[in-house]
C-alpha cells in the first residue's frame, strides 16, 4: 500500500492534471529520494534468508545430494531438497487450465535445464546461506542435452495448428510471382534484464500467507500460491508497491517463489529469497530464440501477391511457450494470398516467457526486413514500398481497423527525419570512415482488452483515495489513475492519492499486453463517476444539504467545490458539504464487467487471462501502430554499428499522459536498440548453459549508445479500443526497431544481416 504526496508533482499548472496532461510521475520523488520501499525491502522481525542451489547439468537426474556439511554450517536452519521440501499441490495455469500433475515440486530430481533449482539453504543471515549453499554436494546422472534450435537433435519440432493463418493459395501465387524474395531471419534468446531482480519475502500467520514480491499480476500470483498450499484465495495477500522493471517477466509465481513460501511454512519464520543476477538468467524464461523464413512474391510495380511465412521458436522440455511469429506478418500488408505456420522445438532451457511484445517483436523483424529486401529487389524506395502495399483493412480478420494512423505515422516520421533527402543506393552516404545508413520499419501491437475494478473514496476532508490491486512498474499507473479520478470528480489532482499493489484492494487482472491503462482508466472513470453521482444525489436530496432548497436537477463539482451549473445558490467545498450532511466518506466500487457477471466469472477474470476480449471482437480490428526512422553509422573498418538518430511516429490512440507515453515509447525504442545490436544469451554448447548471465557480459545499451530520440504522437481517440479512447503504449515502440536498424545497416553497408544481434563480426 502506498500513498503519494502529490504536491511535488502537481506544482506545474492545472492543465497538467487533466487526463491528457503532461503530469510528471507522482511516484517519481519517492523513487529518486529512496523513500519508495520495494517489495522485498520490508524489514520483518525474525526474517531468515534462503539461497538456491542450481543444477550444473542441462539434462539428467539428481542421483544424490549430500547436505550434511551445509546443515551443520553456522546459522543454517534447513537445507531443502526434493526429498525434504513439503509437498505442494499442482496449480492451474494462467488460462485457468487445471494442473497436469496433482503435486508440484519446485526442487527437482529430473533436471531439464542448467541452473534448475535442486536444493535451497535457509539460514539466519544471507551470508550464512550463501556460504552453506556452496557446501551442498549434488551428484548427477547426466544425459545429452538439446542446447538450442540449431542442435542436430532438436528436429523440426511440434506444429502449432492454432498459429496457422492462411487465405488464397500462397504457395502457387508465390511461384507465379514475377519478383520473389525469400530469406531466413533469426533472433537469439534474449532476457528481460530488469534492474530489480526477482525475489520475495514470504510470511505465514496461521493459514494466512503474505507475500511481498514484485508482481505484474497480484491476483493471478495470489491464486497460484493459494492453489499450491490448498488455501482459500482470500488467505493469500500479495504486496507489490513498486516494481523495478518487469517487461513481462514478473507476471507469474515461479519455482523460486514456491521454495520461499514452502520454506517459510516449514520453519514458521518469514523467509526472504532473492535470485542472484546469474540466477535471473536461468530461473525464468526470457524471449525464446526464433527462426523465420519469409517469402514474398510481388508484381513488378511492387504490389505484393503472396506471403509465405514459416516460423519456429524454442520452448522447454517440460513447458510450452509459443511466440506467435505470424502476428505482424499477417496484418501489416495487403496481400491476396497468405500462409503462415509455426512449430515449436523443445530444447533444454527454462520455459521461455513474455518479453516486451512477445510475438509481434520477432515477427516484425522478419516481415519488416523482408519488405525492405523486396524494395531493393525492385529498386523502390522502402517507404514507398510500404505505402504501395498499405492494408486498408485487417487482411486476416477481414475487418475494418478501429483506427490506423500508420499512413500518418509514415508521413510525420518521414518529414521530421528528412527521409526525402535519402539516396536509395547502399553505401551511398558516408562521413569520413563512417558509412551512414537510413532505415525505416513499421510496428504494431494489438489492443488487448480486459475488465478491471476500482474503489474510489471521497473522504470527509475533500480528498480522494483510489484503490486497485493493479500495479505500477514504471509505466505510470499511479499518475494516470490520479488524473482520471481528479478529472472525473472535479477535484484538484493533488487531493487524490492512489493506492496500488495490494491484492486486498479492488481486483485487477494482469499488467501485460499493454492493457492496464485502458482497463484501469475505464474502471476508475466508472467508480469515480458513481461516487460523483452519489455526491450530487446527496447534495440534491439530503435534508441537511444546503443545496436541497435549490430544487435543481443537477450540480457540478469543479476544483473540489460543489455548485449549481448556473452559479446560483451555495458554493461549497466537498469537505464543508460532507460536514454539513454528517458523512465521513462516500465510497464507490466500479468495474467494467457486465452486471450479470457471476462471482466465479469475476474470479476467473482477475486471476486468469481466459476472459481477455479478442482484439478483433465485433466489427473492428484494434491495434496500435508506429513507424520508425533510424540513422546508423557503421565504421567501415571495424563493423561497429552506432545508432545516431531515431524518429518514431506512433499511434497509441488518445494519450492519457503524453509525457509518460513518450517515456514508455522511448524505453521500447532503447530496448529495441539493445535487441538489434547487443543482446544475446550465449550458450556453451557442450553444457547447455548460458555463460554471459550477468550485466557485464549480457550486453544492454548504455547511455552512450542511445542518441536523441524524437517521438511524434499521431494517434486519435479510438472509441472502440477503450473507455477513454487510448490504445496500447508499453509494447508498441519496441516492435519494428530491430528491422529499422537492420535496414539502415543494409543501406549503409550493402550487407543484409538477418541474425540478431548485428555485431561487428557480421560486418567486417
Amino acid at each position: 500500500m502506498t500513498v503519494h504526496d502529490m504536491k511535488h508533482a502537481a506544482s506545474d499548472s492545472a492543465r497538467l492534471e487533466a487526463v491528457g496532461g503532461r503530469l510528471s510521475r507522482v511516484d517519481g520523488p519517492a523513487k529518486i529520494t529512496g523513500a519508495a520501499k520495494y517489495a522485498f525491502e520490508q524489514q520483518l522481525e525474525g526474517l531468515t534468508h534462503a539461497v538456491l542451489v542450481g543444477a550444473t547439468i542441462a539434462a539428467g537426474k539428481v542421483t544424490a545430494i549430500d547436505a550434511r556439511a551445509a546443515e551443520t554450517a553456522p546459522g543454517v536452519l534447513a537445507v531443502l531438497t526434493p526429498d525434504t521440501i513439503m509437498e505442494l499441490r499442482g496449480a492451474s495455469d494462467w488460462l485457468g487450465n487445471p494442473p497436469s500433475q496433482p503435486t508440484y515440486a519446485p526442487l527437482v530430481r529430473e533436471v531439464t535445464f542448467s541452473g534448475q533449482h535442486v536444493a535451497a539453504v535457509v539460514a539466519e543471515t544471507f551470508e550464512q546461506a550463501v556460504a552453506a549453499a556452496a557446501l551442498v554436494k549434488v551428484w548427477y546422472d547426466e544425459t545429452p542435452a538439446i542446447v538450442d534450435l540449431s542442435d542436430g537433435k532438436a528436429g523440426d519440432g511440434i506444429p502449432i495448428d492454432a498459429m496457422t493463418k492462411e487465405w488464397g493459395d500462397a504457395e502457387a501465387a508465390f511461384a507465379e510471382a514475377p519478383v520473389r524474395i525469400c530469406a531466413a531471419y533469426n533472433t537469439p534468446r534474449e532476457f528481460q534484464a530488469a534492474m530489480e531482480p526477482h525475489g520475495l519475502i514470504a510470511r505465514w500467520e496461521g493459514d494466512e500467507l503474505t507475500i511481498w514480491e514484485p508482481s505484474q499480476w497480484l491476483d493471478g500470483m495470489a491464486r497460484t500460491y493459494a492453489e499450491w498450499f490448498g488455501l482459500p484465495f482470500e488467505n493469500v495477500r500479495l504486496v507489490s508497491p513498486y516494481i523495478g522493471g518487469g517487461f513481462g517477466s514478473k507476471a507469474l509465481a515461479l519455482a523460486h517463489s514456491a521454495v520461499a513460501a514452502a520454506a517459510a511454512r516449514m520453519l514458521d519464520r518469514p523467509v526472504k529469497l532473492v535470485l542472484t543476477r546469474p540466477q535471473n538468467f536461468t530461473s525464468y524464461g526470457g524471449r525464446a530464440a526464433t527462426r523465420q523464413t519469409v517469402a514474398i512474391g510481388a508484381d513488378r510495380d511492387g504490389k505484393i501477391q503472396s506471403i509465405v511465412h514459416r516460423g519456429v521458436n524454442e520452448t522447454a522440455v517440460d513447458g510450452m511457450w509459443v511466440e506467435p511469429l505470424g502476428s505482424v506478418t499477417s496484418i501489416m500488408y495487403a496481400t491476396p494470398n497468405f500462409s503462415s505456420k509455426q512449430n515449436v522445438v523443445r530444447v533444454n532451457t527454462v520455459v521461455p516467457g513474455a518479453k516486451r511484445a512477445p510475438g509481434e517483436n520477432p515477427s516484425a523483424f522478419g516481415i519488416e526486413s523482408a519488405i525492405d529486401e523486396l524494395a531493393y529487389e525492385l529498386g523502390i524506395d522502402p517507404l514507398e514500398m510500404r505505402l504501395i502495399n498499405y492494408a486498408e483493412q485487417d487482411p486476416h480478420a477481414k475487418k475494418a481497423w478501429s483506427t490506423r494512423q500508420l499512413r500518418e505515422a509514415f508521413a510525420a516520421g518521414a518529414e521530421a527525419f528528412g527521409w526525402a533527402k535519402r539516396s536509395n543506393a547502399p553505401r551511398s552516404m558516408r562521413d569520413g570512415r563512417q558509412l551512414i545508413g537510413w532505415g525505416v520499419a513499421a510496428g504494431t501491437y494489438p489492443v488487448r482488452r480486459a475488465h478491471g475494478e476500482a474503489v474510489v473514496k471521497l473522504l470527509s476532508d475533500g480528498s480522494v483515495e483510489v484503490e486497485s490491486s493493479s500495479i505500477d512498474m514504471g509505466q505510470g499507473t499511479y499518475t494516470i489513475l490520479a488524473q482520471t479520478a481528479a478529472e472525473t470528480l472535479g477535484v484538484p489532482v493533488e487531493r487524490v492519492s492512489v493506492k496500488l499493489g495490494d491484492s486486498h484492494f479492488a481486483r485487477a487482472g494482469v499488467t501485460g499486453g499493454s492493457r492496464l491503462a485502458g482497463v484501469m482508466t475505464g474502471a476508475v472513470h466508472k467508480a469515480a463517476g458513481q461516487a460523483l453521482d452519489e455526491l450530487i444525489g446527496l447534495a440534491l436530496s439530503d435534508p441537511r444539504s444546503p443545496f436541497q432548497k435549490l430544487q435543481a436537477n443537477t450540480l457540478q463539482v469543479r476544483d473540489g467545490r460543489i455548485a449549481s451549473p448556473r452559479g446560483e445558490g451555495p458554493d461549497l467545498s466537498i469537505a464543508d458539504f460532507m460536514m454539513a450532511i454528517g458523512r465521513d466518506q462516500i465510497e464507490a466500487k466500479g468495474d467494467t464487467l457486465p452486471a450479470s457477471t457471476t462471482p466465479e466469472e469475476r474470479y476467473k477474470n482477475y486471476t486468469t487471462i481466459a476472459m481477455s476480449i479478442p482484439h478483433t471482437e465485433g466489427d473492428y480490428s484494434r491495434h496500435s501502430w508506429c513507424a520508425h526512422f533510424v540513422e546508423v553509422r557503421v565504421d567501415e573498418d571495424f563493423g561497429t554499428v552506432r545508432v545516431s538518430r531515431v524518429v518514431s511516429a506512433l499511434d497509441s490512440g488518445r494519450l492519457y499522459n503524453p509525457k509518460l507515453a513518450e517515456s514508455q515509447w522511448k524505453g521500447g525504442i532503447i530496448m529495441g536498440i539493445g535487441q538489434a545490436l547487443l543482446e544475446e544469451g550465449i550458450v556453451d554448447r557442450r553444457h547447455g548453459r548460458i555463460v554471459n548471465g550477468n550485466f557485464a557480459d549480457y550486453m544492454l545499451p548504455t547511455n552512450a549508445d542511445i542518441p536523441d530520440i524524437q517521438t511524434i504522437s499521431v494517434g486519435i481517440p479510438d472509441p472502440h479500443s477503450s473507455a477513454l479512447g487510448g490504445k496500447g503504449v508499453g509494447e508498441l515502440a519496441i516492435v519494428g526497431i530491430a528491422p529499422a536498424i537492420a535496414n539502415a545497416v543494409f543501406h549503409a553497408t550493402g550487407k543484409r544481416v538477418r541474425d540478431l544481434p548485428i555485431t561487428l563480426e557480421k560486418l567486417i
Binding site: 556453451d684 557485464a696 549508445d705
Partner: protein, 327 residues
C-alpha cells in the same frame, strides 16, 4: 561462512610483511577483489587493506618521466592535465576503461592486477576445470563459447584474454612497475600463460606495487588509444591499440613508433614487428595497413573469436592514421 582476517596496513613496509603471509591478498579500490570473491574465485585467508597508506596516490609528471603512485585512482590519472598532454594514450585508455563508478574506485596498482573476464574462469561452480584457478585441471574455454577469447599469446593451457586498457598503453611506452625492491618492465611483469596459466604476473610473495613509471618521449606525447567494442561504454575491448608516433622533420617519415594491442592477447601485447616495418618509412595508408597485419603473426583462433584476427590490425592502422592526420 568464508572467514578471513582483515588487516589495515598503514605503511608499505607493513603491507609487504603482511603480503608475505600465505593466502594474503591486497585490497585497494576493491573493484576486482570483491567481485572475484563474490563469484568464488578469490578466497583470501587474509585481506590487507592498503587503501589508507599515505603518499601512494601521488601523480608526478615531468617531461622525461611520469611516476604514478599505486593508489592513484584511475579517474584522477585520466583527468590529470600533464598526463593528458605528455601521455595522451594513457589518459584515453583510462577514460575508456570500465565505468565512471569503477574508475572512481579502482587504483592504478590494482588495475595492473585485474584478472581476466573469461566466463569459465569466473564460474567455479559450473566449470571446475580452469588452469588459472586450479593448475592442471584443464581449460573449460577451449571448445566452448570463445567470442571474447584471445588469439595471441595463447597456449593449450589457457586462452583467456587480458582485459585491461591501461597496461596496453604502458607496454607501448616501456613503462616500468615499481615493486619496492625490484623494478621491471610492465611488458615483463605480465606473463603469457604457457604451461603455467596460474602465473599471471611476475610478483613474489611480500611484494607490493608502489608505483608505475612511464618514460617520456616524443612518441608518448603524440599518442592515442583506440578501443573497439560492441557497445560504446562499460565494455572490454574486442580489440584496442595504443600507438605513439614521432615523425622526422619532414612531417611524414616515421622516426619512432610504438604499437601495443589489447583485447586480443593473453597479456598486454607489444607488436615490435609493426614498429620495425614502419620506422624510417613515409606514412602511407596502404603501407600502414600492410604493416599492421604483421601484428597477427602467430595468431590462433578458436572459432567464434576468429574475427579478432581481422579486426586488430585495422585498429592499429586507424590509430596510426589518426596520429598521422594530426601532423
Amino acid at each position: 561462512m568464508r572467514d578471513f582476517s582483515y588487516l589495515r596496513a598503514d605503511s608499505v613496509e607493513a603491507a609487504r610483511n603482511a603480503a608475505a603471509l600465505p593466502g594474503a591478498m591486497l585490497l585497494a579500490g576493491g573493484t576486482t577483489l570483491i567481485d572475484l570473491a563474490k563469484c568464488g574465485v578469490a578466497e583470501p585467508s587474509t585481506v590487507i587493506d592498503i587503501s589508507h597508506i599515505e603518499g601512494l596516490d601521488a601523480i608526478d609528471v615531468a617531461a622525461d618521466r611520469a611516476v604514478i603512485g599505486a593508489l592513484a585512482k584511475m579517474s584522477h590519472v585520466a583527468d590529470h592535465t600533464s598526463v593528458k598532454s605528455c601521455f595522451p594514450a594513457v589518459s584515453e585508455a583510462l577514460w575508456q576503461a570500465a565505468s565512471a563508478q569503477l574508475r572512481n574506485m579502482a587504483t592504478i596498482g590494482g588495475n595492473l592486477m585485474q584478472r581476466t573476464r573469461c566466463p569459465y574462469f569466473r564460474d567455479p561452480q559450473n566449470f571446475p576445470a580452469c588452469n588459472k584457478r586450479a593448475p592442471g585441471s584443464g581449460c573449460s574455454a577451449i571448445g566452448g563459447a570463445t567470442r571474447s577469447h584471445a588469439v595471441l599469446g595463447v597456449s593449450e593451457a589457457c586462452i583467456a584474454t587480458y582485459p585491461g586498457d591501461l597496461a596496453v598503453a604502458l607496454v607501448a611506452f616501456d613503462a616500468e612497475v615499481d615493486l619496492g625492491g625490484r623494478k621491471l618492465k610492465v611488458e615483463d611483469f605480465f606473463l603469457a600463460p604457457g604451461a603455467t596459466a596460474e602465473q599471471e604476473h611476475d610478483i613474489r610473495p611480500g611484494e607490493v606495487i608502489t608505483a608505475v613509471e612511464i618514460p617520456g618521449s616524443a612518441a608518448a606525447r603524440r599518442s592515442t588509444y583506440i578501443k573497439v567494442r560492441d557497445r560504446q561504454s562499460y565494455e572490454f575491448a574486442a580489440a584496442s591499440a595504443a600507438v605513439g608516433l614521432e615523425l622526422e622533420g619532414d612531417g611524414r617519415t616515421v622516426r619512432d613508433i610504438r604499437v601495443a594491442l589489447g583485447g586480443v592477447a593473453t597479456k598486454p601485447w607489444r607488436v615490435r614487428a609493426v614498429e620495425e616495418a614502419l620506422k624510417g618509412k613515409p606514412l602511407d595508408e596502404a603501407m600502414i595497413r600492410e604493416a599492421s597485419e604483421l601484428a597477427m603473426e602467430g595468431a590462433v583462433d578458436h572459432g567464434a573469436n576468429h574475427y579478432r584476427i581481422a579486426l586488430a590490425p585495422r585498429v592499429i592502422a586507424r590509430a596510426i592514421l589518426k596520429l598521422g592526420e594530426t601532423a
